[in-house]
């Protein structure tokens, strides 16, 4: 069996996912082209050697429809011999793309692959692709569908996380992201996005607020209270969790992941193929795991997925040097740390999606790249990357630096 190694990782800056956001003029294929071009250029790749481009993308309609991975490869000037496919594992699509590339390399299907993700949430709004899950009455009923914010509030309620707890976590995320930018910790992999003439549209993550403080966050209205109380979703959740008297709505725009635009891509290959290309491996994929939890609470998957990945790697949580868990909602991370005994000093050390945003299909690839940069910066060995996922799923991947 071939070994799957990571040779490089890049990501775009993340722009506010609204029509006023700096990346709104950039089409999703443009964002994907930005990362694909950069990977090829800085590694002097003969793109004909790439077997496949896998991109995660959650809302695959309109400009993000019709297999944006293959189309972006063409648009980025990759050789026509490079295949491409687009996957949707909801919020973990970017990490799933890496895991799929890994298994395909290990199994001998690929020698060289590019894996990552793209999402322009300002141009192709979340949920604009419909789907049966929340809309089809028979399906929504059987699945006991609730919006993820309700699930996050349910996790907070069940575990007694107060509004202050979740807000404090959010403040820390902004602080860490601010410091990371000040110290240029993302420099190795972050790309500015330009227009057709090379004019910079954005060269810094747009949503970080260095001044974020508890007092300010305390003013924000809970985002899911109305959905929960006026439109029946609290009741749907309580019917699955009747031990709860009522859901405390603690999440709001300030302690949930930001809606942003962005893309990321990694270069993966077998050891032999890497050597043939004259590239130096940066890390190897040590273990991967996929789980699924009860779908109404939905966001607890990182706990079981991480435990499963650790078991496969024959590791304990304390053996892992760094952890990147997607900050979909503050309570998701608080719950993960509580259940897994993960110390906050090792978790999301450079901030996360609450500060920088969560471009759905791309995030998994972005945070793996962030973990890899940080391992190298601190000269550490292993990192665990995990995300919570719609429907209750969880994905976790453990990487280990090649030294």
């Amino acid at each position: 069996m071939q070994e799957a190694l990571i040779f490089d990782a890049v990501r775009t800056v993340r722009g506010k996912g609204k029509s006023s956001g700096a990346l709104h003029p950039a089409r999703p294929v443009w964002l994907a082209k930005t990362v694909l071009e950069s990977l090829a250029k800085r590694n002097h790749l003969d793109t004909a050697k790439i077997d496949d481009v896998i991109l995660g993308c959650v809302t695959q309609s309109a400009e993000q429809g019709a297999n944006i991975a293959k189309i972006s490869a063409l648009y980025a000037g990759y050789n026509y011999s490079v295949a491409g496919f687009t996957i949707n594992r909801f919020c973990a699509s970017g990490l799933e793309a890496i895991n799929q590339a890994t298994t395909s390399i290990m199994g001998g299907y690929y020698d060289v692959a590019v894996a990552g993700g793209v999402e322009s949430m300002s141009r192709v709004p979340m949920a604009s692709d419909g789907g049966a899950w929340s809309v089809d009455p028979d399906v929504a009923n059987k699945a006991a569908f609730v919006p993820q914010g309700i699930s996050a509030d349910l996790i907070a309620t069940l575990n007694g996380f107060s509004r202050r707890d979740v807000d404090s976590f959010a403040v820390e995320s902004h602080k860490r992201a601010t410091k990371a930018w000040e110290e240029k910790r993302f420099q190795k992999s972050v790309l500015a996005v330009t227009d057709v003439n090379g004019e910079v549209l954005l060269d810094r993550d747009e949503m970080i607020r260095p001044e974020a403080a508890l007092e300010g966050l305390a003013q924000l209205k809970p985002s899911f209270e109305e959905l929960g109380t006026k439109y029946g979703f609290d009741s749907v959740a309580l019917q699955r969790y009747p031990i709860v008297e009522r859901i405390e709505h603690v999440h709001h725009a300030g302690n949930s992941s930001g809606i942003v635009d962005g893309a990321a891509a990694l270069l993966l290959a077998s050891r032999e193929a890497g050597e043939r290309m004259g590239l130096k491996p940066r890390a190897k994929i040590r273990a991967m795991a996929l789980t699924c939890e009860e779908p109404t609470i939905m966001l607890t998957g990182p706990v079981s997925a991480s435990r499963k990945a650790l078991a496969k790697a024959k590791m304990k949580m304390s053996d892992v040097d760094l952890i990147e868990i997607n900050e979909a909602f503050a309570a998701v991370v608080l719950y993960f740390m509580q259940e897994c005994g993960a110390d906050h000093s090792k978790v999301n050390v450079n901030g996360g999606a609450i500060a920088m945003g969560h471009p759905l299909g791309a995030t998994g690839a972005m945070i793996l790249g962030t973990a890899l940069d940080e391992l190298e910066r601190k000269n550490l060995a292993t990192a665990l990357i995990t995300l919570c996922i719609g429907g209750g799923m969880g994905v976790a991947t453990i990487i280990e630096r090649c030294v």
Partner: protein, 703 residues
């Protein structure tokens, strides 16, 4: 069944067919096999006749058409049999709207002079134009959901195609009925008229114009439903549009919130709209037929039709009234005690046009009771549901007084004083001293046996219990209690009074707590027992609601108030000895009243806390007094227990002869204290879960 004639006058070079719905056997038109055959024949005849330029459908009854034949639907048990009926129904409606097989331009107008509900509105929706009388009493809607069904005559498809997904979904899932003005605004009817003559004239004129219309090439303009047009778009956007995504996502959750998935109909309606509006019309009808058939054979629809329709009709037709006694209208009612209950009864009686004497110990107290009616009237006037003159008339019927003599000319006297035998005996004696010897004296007691109260009466055969529920103006049920010596005349008088004030009566025999209070209290007692066993309070409350009860048992205890419960339990101990009461409830109510001084909502705290201006929440210290068990039962188990205990007690009431009929037990449980209608009522519950399963439940839950 259906009369058909052609207009004598020539219109647009031909005649117009007038179809008059007129069921000779019933007081109202209903859709059944016979009706469909008749309609099919009329439509065939009309469309085969080339001199017919269009049709007008009208009714000879008060109602336009009342809907499906529930008697027939109740008996059907096979999916295939339902499908046979719907196929026929669809075919006739399609033949109407397609102007026959050649799809000629012959329009059909529904001339609505009375309520068009359910199948009645569906027939009207299959017409090309709906005209309606401007009469607030006319109701228009698709209320099938209230009997566990869906509009199976194309209603789930035609209504949203006509007015849009959101308003149609709202109307059909709630069973909302609207007046003509609102129906016009919603786009369900096209035009309103002051008289039937004007409406008929307008219908003829419209048919004349439309059937003669030619396009610019001189070809006849086809008459068709809006959705048959190639350029048709669903108003407000189709299923696959961002707006509809939100409507469905929210409706799905709201239906789950409201039904706890105990009622399959609202969800089936949503599925019909979601699935049906994405396919051509005739496939859509098949989708609707599929879901409709599922509901018709479903036990929930059977339960709801049997109890809420036939059972309630039986009660309202006074099946329990003793035979051979001529009508006994109440000419004047005397109400003793102007508290909550007395004031409420005064209002409903005056509303029904019955003069009221409202007596209390002081004029001020009596006037305060009367002001309750003023308050309700003012609220209604504000909502434009009552004219100021009506208020004056209603208030004019209520005489507030402190004089016992004022009830002298009342033929019915209802006492509503506090639950104290001595005081009740005193007011009974006072009234009987002044009123006519044939006046009926009633007690509104909710707990004290009538036979005992009647001992204070000189004429116990004229003494009866009439138990109202609070708030009187809203609660639909009245429980009539027959004491050992109560005579038939008193029963007839009480029943006629209850019907006059438009409530539904049940008649029960005397016994502690009668029927409703006795069974209802077992719900509260079981909740308290669960709490003592260490079941989490939130789980108990959620289980009660999820099983279909309107509120959790602990919340009910707080509303009833723990001191009242304690008082009743102690009274029962005095009467029957300590074994006569539920020990858990006695201990717990004693704890709350004597030690904790938490009496319920009225004292600002009981099982719940009631923060001023905020939402109530379970008292956090409950866990100190009732330690939660390590393993908690499944919510379904707790819910079953909370319903089974009531069914068990209701069965005992039937066996002991407190209940005189099963129907009264079912109707009384649903209307009286909100026992879930999907079960068919507290006694039907046993058939619903199955006798064997019920026996298992009883064995399992008994301590």
């Amino acid at each position: 069944m259906i009369q058909y004639e052609k207009t004598p006058e020539q219109i647009g070079g031909g005649q117009i067919g007038i179809v008059t719905l007129d069921n000779p056997k019933l007081s109202t038109n209903v859709i059944n096999d016979e009706f469909l055959d008749a309609l099919e024949n009329v439509v065939k005849e009309a469309w085969a006749d080339s001199s017919v330029k269009g049709l007008i459908i009208r009714s000879a009854k008060n109602d336009f058409l009342a809907g499906g034949d529930l008697d027939a639907l109740l008996k059907i048990t096979r999916i295939g049999d339902v499908q046979k009926i719907t196929r026929k129904l669809h075919a006739v409606f399609l033949a109407l709207e397609n102007s026959g097989p050649e799809k000629m331009n012959r329009p059909v107008v529904a001339a609505i002079t009375g309520s068009a509900l359910g199948g009645g509105l569906e027939l009207a929706l299959a017409c090309h134009r709906r005209l309606c009388l401007k009469n607030e009493k006319i109701q228009i809607g698709l209320p099938e959901v209230t009997l566990g069904l869906l509009p199976g005559g194309g209603g789930t498809q035609r209504l949203p195609r006509l007015i849009g997904i959101q308003p149609a979904v709202e109307m059909m899932t709630t069973g909302q009925k609207v007046a003509p003005e609102k129906a016009l605004k919603m786009g369900i009817v096209h035009e309103l008229f002051d008289s039937a003559e004007q409406m008929m004239a307008a219908a003829k004129k419209w048919i004349g114009e439309v059937s003669a219309a030619k396009d610019k090439d001189g070809k006849p303009v086809p008459v068709q439903q809006p959705w048959a047009d190639k350029k048709y778009k669903i108003p407000g956007g189709g299923v696959q549009s961002p707006g509809a995504y939100q409507v469905f996502a929210a409706s799905n959750a709201m239906v789950a919130e409201k039904t706890y998935n105990n009622y399959p109909a609202p969800k089936a309606i949503l599925s019909c709209v979601y699935e049906g509006l994405q396919v051509p019309f005739e496939s859509a009808l098949q989708i609707e037929a599929g879901y409709f058939a599922q509901l018709v054979v479903h036990p929930v629809a059977k339960n709801m039709i049997r109890t809420l329709f036939f059972g309630m009709n039986e009660a309202n037709k006074l099946a329990a009234r003793p035979k051979g006694i001529s009508p006994m209208p109440t000419k004047k009612v005397g109400i003793l005690g102007a508290g909550m209950m007395g004031s409420g009864i005064a209002y409903v009686a005056a509303k029904a046009g019955i003069p009221v004497v409202l007596k209390d110990v002081s004029t001020a107290a009596a006037e305060k009771g009367k002001s309750y009616s003023t308050k309700i009237c003012d609220g209604l006037i504000e909502k434009r549901r009552l004219a100021p003159e009506q208020k004056e008339k209603l208030l004019g019927l209520i005489k507030a007084t402190d004089e016992a003599r004022a009830v002298a000319d009342c033929d019915l006297i209802i006492e509503t004083v506090i639950e104290d035998r001595k005081i009740k005996a005193q007011v009974t004696k006072e009234s009987e001293a002044v009123c006519a010897s044939d006046a009926i004296v009633a007690s509104n007691t909710s707990t004290l046996p009538i036979t005992g109260l009647a001992e204070a009466s000189k004429r116990p055969e004229n003494f009866i219990g009439i138990h109202f529920f609070s708030p009187v103006d809203k609660m639909p049920l009245v429980e009539i209690i027959v004491g050992k010596k109560t005579g038939d005349v008193a029963i007839a008088k009480a029943l006629d009074f209850v019907r006059a004030i438009k409530k539904t009566p049940i008649v029960v025999n005397d016994g502690r707590g009668f029927y409703t209070s006795r069974v209802f209290m077992t719900y509260v007692q079981e909740g308290i027992a669960l709490l003592k066993e260490g079941v989490q309070p939130a789980l108990i409350e959620n289980a009660g609601r999820m099983a279909g009860m309107p509120v959790g048992p602990l919340a009910v205890a707080d509303e009833v108030s723990l001191d009242l419960m304690y008082h009743i339990l102690k009274q029962t101990v005095d009467d029957l000895g300590p074994k006569g009461v539920d020990q858990n409830s006695l201990q717990v109510s004693k704890l709350f009243v004597e030690e904790l001084k938490r009496l319920g909502r009225k004292s600002g705290g009981g099982f719940y806390e009631y923060p001023p201006g905020g939402k109530k929440f379970l008292w956090p210290k409950l866990k100190e007094f009732f330690a939660p068990a390590k393993t908690q039962p499944a919510v379904q188990e707790v819910g079953q227990r909370l319903l089974a205990v009531q069914a068990f007690e209701a069965k005992k009431c039937l066996d002991e002869g407190i209940l005189r009929s099963k129907t009264d037990g079912d109707v009384g449980s649903i209307l009286g204290w909100g026992f879930p209608a999907y079960t068919g009522g507290a006694l039907s519950y046993i058939d619903f879960v199955g006798e064997r399963e019920f026996a298992n439940q009883s064995a399992r839950f008994k301590k």
